[in-house]
């Protein structure tokens, strides 16, 4: 092989590598990112099938939790109910979807009892572990069982309230650290969109 051919080859390889690296590094950043959210098809607290398409034209909030949750879940569900009370009539359009990340323990019957603690226009959803995993993935939600010494388990989970607009598109989030005023502000904005 002549020296010239060799140097051309080296250049070609280098350019290809650079192009591949460029493509690779640009993955997951920039406007091509996949949107948060997606269709939610699960089972509600009455054992009936639920499809988020039924909320078409109305805004909704989505929270992933579980009934054995010590703090984030009751706090968030109470905050939503309080916010709905404060906003009054316009808040009637808002539905909150409480999706369990612990479908083994959280059956529809358990969930029905659980959401009755809080008031608010909430639908509690469960399904097979696979169905729940699919919805969680669409929302970029992390959850994991953590074993405890009594032979049971608790769970790590993303504790964010997702706000979805009337087109079922991601609008905003309310983080666990945000206070009541931010709930009111963000949910009012969602309802006004």
């Amino acid at each position: 092989m002549s020296r010239r051919v060799l140097s051309i080859l080296v250049v070609v390889v280098a350019v290809s590598a650079a192009a591949l690296a460029y493509l690779y590094l640009n993955q997951g950043s920039g406007p091509a990112a996949v949107p948060i959210g997606g269709p939610i098809r699960l089972t509600d607290q009455d054992g009936k099938s639920f499809d988020s398409a039924s909320l078409d034209g109305k805004p909704y909030a989505v929270f992933f939790g579980f009934t054995h949750c010590p703090d984030a879940c009751p706090t968030t569900l109470s905050e939503i109910a309080r916010t709905e009370d404060e906003i009054g009539a316009p808040a009637k359009e808002l539905t909150t979807l409480f999706v369990t990340v612990d479908p083994e323990r959280d059956t529809p019957a358990v969930l029905k009892d659980y959401i009755s603690n809080f008031g608010g226009n909430t639908i509690a959803l469960s399904g097979t572990p696979e169905q729940v995993a699919e919805v969680a993935k669409a929302y970029r939600v992390f959850y994991k069982k953590v074993p405890t010494s009594d032979g049971g388990y608790t769970m790590d989970h993303t504790a964010v309230l997702y706000l979805m607009n009337r087109d079922g598109k991601f609008a905003d989030v309310i983080a666990y650290s945000e206070d009541h005023d931010r709930y009111v502000e963000k949910i009012k904005k969602l309802l006004a969109e």
Binding site: A72, P74, T75, S149, G152, T154, M155, H157, V173
Partner: protein, 157 residues
């Protein structure tokens, strides 16, 4: 005289109320301030408990067990936010109470996690418990039950 008597009565009533709202226990060099727990929720068999532990001594101690009749287990858990993820961790080795330090178990932080609660915990009642410390030993306490949504700690009482 009458005014004085009224004042005295008021002072006693006030003192009584304050003592009831912030009950305390002592064992060895440790002081346990206002153990409380949140009321149970329908559909859930867990509850969480809180208290402040002050070590007046010059050696560290360790809370190693929380035993209650009303639940299958009382575990010491730590809760942390990592980004938007809430992480739970059971402190199986117990909770250290450093010499001269105050350790507070409070909402969104260290707490006692009661698993398998077998009775309804209703606000404004008390339930018995027993704490075991590595050095100071055992102490019987009462947890006051507060409404499920309560987030306050002793700081704003």
């Amino acid at each position: 005289m009458r005014v004085l008597r009224t004042l005295l009565i008021l002072a006693f009533v006030g003192f009584g109320a304050a003592a009831a709202a912030a009950h305390e226990y002592k064992v060895g060099e440790l002081e346990i301030v206002h153990p409380w727990a949140r009321a149970t929720l329908k559909g859930s068999d867990v509850a969480d408990g809180f208290m402040k532990i002050i070590n007046h001594g010059s050696t560290p101690d360790r809370l190693i067990a929380v035993n209650v009749e009303f639940a299958k287990a009382g575990q010491i858990h730590d809760m942390k936010m990592e980004g938007d993820v809430m992480k739970m961790q059971e402190l199986t080795g117990g909770l250290e109470i450093p010499a001269g330090a105050t350790v507070e178990l409070k909402p969104k932080s260290l707490h006692v996690m009661f698993m398998g609660v077998n009775q309804e915990l209703t606000p404004d009642t008390v339930v018995d418990g027993e704490l075991t410390f590595e050095k100071a030993g055992k102490v019987k306490i009462e947890f006051m039950i507060e409404p499920a949504g309560t987030t306050h700690s002793m700081d704003n009482m």
